[in-house]
């Protein structure tokens, strides 16, 4: 047993991080808000080139994929990353980034699809199977003000039917893998929130000293880190498990554990990051709100934490 990253895993993650730091610094991400969150196809191709979508069709596993998605989350990259990654094995062009593939799950009280205007293909993930739909034919109402400015969102009155490309078992597997990949993104959000809050706490002075020297602020940061590290263990365990190097045979249950922990932690870290920033955390300018908002978005993907808590208990 060795549950630390091995050298290959570490260098893969560092490679992705280094690409994103150069290509997608937060300024680039923010600039995309001015276009209403329309996806940048050049960037999408470059993401494909570093393997973000095709890792698993290229012979890597969920472990490597989650490490990559952690970095995507950390860099706040927007768009149907998980969907395009999942689709890489079945939808032509998804893996190489030539087509942007989105995904929707029928939901209550209403079904909403993200990034509809940027999509080339839309996957509908239902309990009874996986279906693909032509996005241009999908009719809905685009929200004037999405919660996350980088995630345009459209309300659908009806869930489109589409053409079946996978059965119920495959749908279940996609949900499971979707949970773990999304949890990777959420883990990255936690880490980015901590970095931002920490930097501010060290720089910002009030009462003649850095606010990070006050226990109240210190303890907020300690709680963020604690949640993030527990989440990291959960997410990595779920990924390793799917790759057959785990310690549990119930892959779905560990995937739920990961999504549950990651969802709660990303929301917690996001809002705590805002609180650490005080008034500045409430401004558009500071990224704290972006992390929190993205955490709100991702919590609704592949089941929120409460749903997974319920599902987890069903196996007890």
């Amino acid at each position: 047993m060795d549950f630390e990253l091995n050298d290959d895993e570490r260098s893969l993650q560092e490679g992705i991080r280094s690409f994103l730091t150069g290509r997608c610094p937060i300024e680039v991400v923010r600039a995309n808000e001015e276009t209403g969150g329309a996806l940048d196809r050049t960037l999408w191709r470059e993401l494909a080139d570093v393997g973000v979508f095709s890792l698993r069709t290229d012979g890597f596993g969920m472990t490597e994929s989650v490490l990559a998605f952690e970095e995507l989350g950390r860099s706040l990259v927007a768009g149907p990353l998980v969907a395009s990654h999942l689709a890489a094995s079945v939808v032509a062009g998804a893996g190489d980034g030539s087509r942007i593939v989105g995904l929707l799950e029928p939901a209550e009280p209403v079904t909403m699809v993200e990034h509809l205007a940027s999509l080339d293909d839309l996957i509908v993930l239902r309990n009874d199977g996986i279906f693909v739909v032509e996005p241009s034919g999908v009719i809905g109402v685009l929200a004037e003000r999405p919660l996350d400015a980088l995630t345009p969102i459209t309300r659908l009155d009806d869930v489109p039917d589409g053409q079946r490309i996978g059965d119920a078992a495959m749908a279940l597997q996609w949900r499971r893998d979707g949970m773990v990949l999304t949890a990777g993104l959420q883990l990255g959000l936690c880490l980015a929130s901590i970095d931002l809050a920490k930097t501010y706490a060290m720089q910002r002075e009030q009462f003649g000293r850095p606010i990070g020297s006050f226990q109240a602020v210190k303890h907020m940061l300690a709680d963020m880190l604690t949640k993030a590290e527990v989440t990291r263990a959960a997410v990595y365990a779920a990924a390793v498990n799917i790759d057959g190097r785990g310690d549990s045979s119930d892959l779905m249950q560990t995937a739920r554990m990961a999504k549950l922990l990651a969802g709660d932690s990303a929301l917690f870290c996001g809002k705590t990051c805002i609180q650490v920033h005080g008034g500045m955390g409430f401004t558009w300018e500071v990224d704290a709100q972006r992390y929190w908002k993205r955490a709100c978005v991702l919590d609704t993907h592949f089941g929120n934490s409460d749903e997974h808590a319920a599902a987890f208990s069903a196996a007890l």
Binding site: A107, E108, P109, V110, T111, M112, E114, V141, A143, E144, R145, P146, L147, D148, A149, T151, I153, R155, D157, E205, Q206, F207, G208, F214, A216, V217, L267, K271, I274, Q275, G278, G279, M280, G281, F282, T283, W284, E285, Q289, W292, K293, C296, V297, T300, N304, D306
Partner: protein, 395 residues
């Protein structure tokens, strides 16, 4: 202890309710949320209407044109206006509830004579220039300088969180007039007419995307010394005076809205289905909503305790900090629960179809600000621990 209203209080309520029933239907529609000029006009129109009916300055002393109402009457006023869906104080906020009361206590007769009636009549909008980028929780460390030059002060520096800075006529300002003394002792309180040369007012976008706040930059802006309120370098004390004006009513309208919102959420849960059943069938969700509603009712009781205390002693006392701490946390719980229930619909700030997304998502974001604005929850806890429990200061 008596939570029932006296006959006098009930007749105050009845008269007010009667008046509101007549006037509210005659009001024009509300301007768009981002139309600050339109909203200024709307808010001042309502203030003028209140003034003409004798309801302006409910908590101001009679000698300054106010109603001289008791805190309980103020509560009744807020209950009835909320009930009637009357306009809010809006852009009159700083003038009526902050600058005005300060002027009443501290200003010269001339300053009072000029400003107080204009505030009451909705002629002047005020904004606040207290916070600075470097002076938030530690407000007294503010560094915006005012240098005496003959009969003027010359102001240079920056203010932030100036609500309605782009529509205001006057600004209540704290400036540093002596940088060489301990921080609380070198501050003065000034009346700044807006639109002076050297001022740059820029909208400050909040995380919700709205721009009611501004940043204001000062580059050698001149203000007559006569515009100072109180003595030079005594501005910290002047600013603190306003705190004693809080009579437990600050969050009454909000509380009434929150109680309604929480009860609306219960109704929403009854409408929404989840896995083929009503969301309301979920015992855990019902308990969560039940608990939030009960806790809101408890905070409503606390509000009445605070108001009663203000009525007896003139001060809210500890109850105010306690209320804010508890309310910020509870409002967050409500917001989180609502977003959870709305699920994907909560990813739109505006209503989604028939779903009241806006109230809940806006509410959630508002809750984030409650733990920050006017003293973060961390600062509130310090105050509660030090001033109420008497624990030693941090350092």
């Amino acid at each position: 202890m008596d939570l029932q209203f006296t006959d006098a209080e009930n007749s105050f309520r009845n008269e007010l309710r009667h008046w509101l029933a007549g006037v509210i239907p005659t009001l024009p529609g509300e301007p768009h949320r981002d139309d600050w000029v339109g909203r200024r006009d709307y808010d001042t129109m309502w203030q003028r209407t209140l003034f003409e009916a004798g309801y302006a300055g409910i908590n101001w002393p009679k000698e300054y044109g106010g109603l001289g109402a008791t805190p309980t009457e103020h509560l009744i006023f807020l209950e009835e206006t909320e009930r009637a869906r009357a306009p809010y104080v809006g852009q009159n906020f700083v003038g009526l509830l902050h600058a005005g009361p300060t002027l009443i206590t501290e200003a010269s007769p001339e300053q009072k004579a000029f400003h107080l009636p204009a505030i009451l009549k909705g002629e002047h909008i005020w904004c606040q220039g207290f916070s600075e980028p470097g002076a938030g929780s530690d407000l007294a460390s503010l560094s915006c300088r005012a240098i005496r030059d003959g009969d003027d002060y010359v102001i240079s520096g920056q203010k932030i969180w100036t609500s309605f800075g782009h529509t205001a006529d006057y600004c209540e300002m704290l400036v540093r007039t002596d940088p060489d003394v301990p921080k609380h002792r070198g501050i003065s309180w000034l009346i700044l007419p807006m639109g002076q040369p050297g001022m740059d007012v820029r909208p400050l976008r909040t995380m919700e995307g709205s721009t009611e706040f501004c940043e204001v930059f000062f580059d050698e802006v001149r203000v007559p010394v006569a515009n100072r309120v109180g003595a030079e370098n005594d501005g910290w004390r002047v600013a603190m005076v306003t705190l004693s004006f809080e009579r437990g009513t600050a969050f009454v309208s909000e509380m009434l809205q929150s109680m309604e919102l929480a009860r609306d959420l219960a109704q929403l849960a009854k409408r929404i289905t989840r896995n083929g059943a009503s969301a309301w069938d979920d015992a855990g969700l019902r308990r969560d909503i039940g608990r939030i509603c009960a806790e809101l009712d408890a905070l409503w009781a606390l509000t009445k305790r605070n108001i009663s205390q203000a009525q007896r002693t003139g001060l809210v006392g500890p109850g105010g900090n306690v209320f804010k701490l508890a309310y910020a946390e509870l409002r967050s719980k409500l917001g989180e629960l609502a977003m959870h229930l709305l699920d994907r619909a909560s990813l739109s700030i505006d209503d989604v179809g028939q779903l009241p997304t806006h109230a809940h998502v806006h509410g959630r974001i508002h809750a984030l600000s409650l733990g920050i604005a006017a003293g973060t929850s961390q600062v509130q806890r310090n105050i509660v621990a030090e001033r109420i429990l008497g624990l030693p200061k941090d350092r």
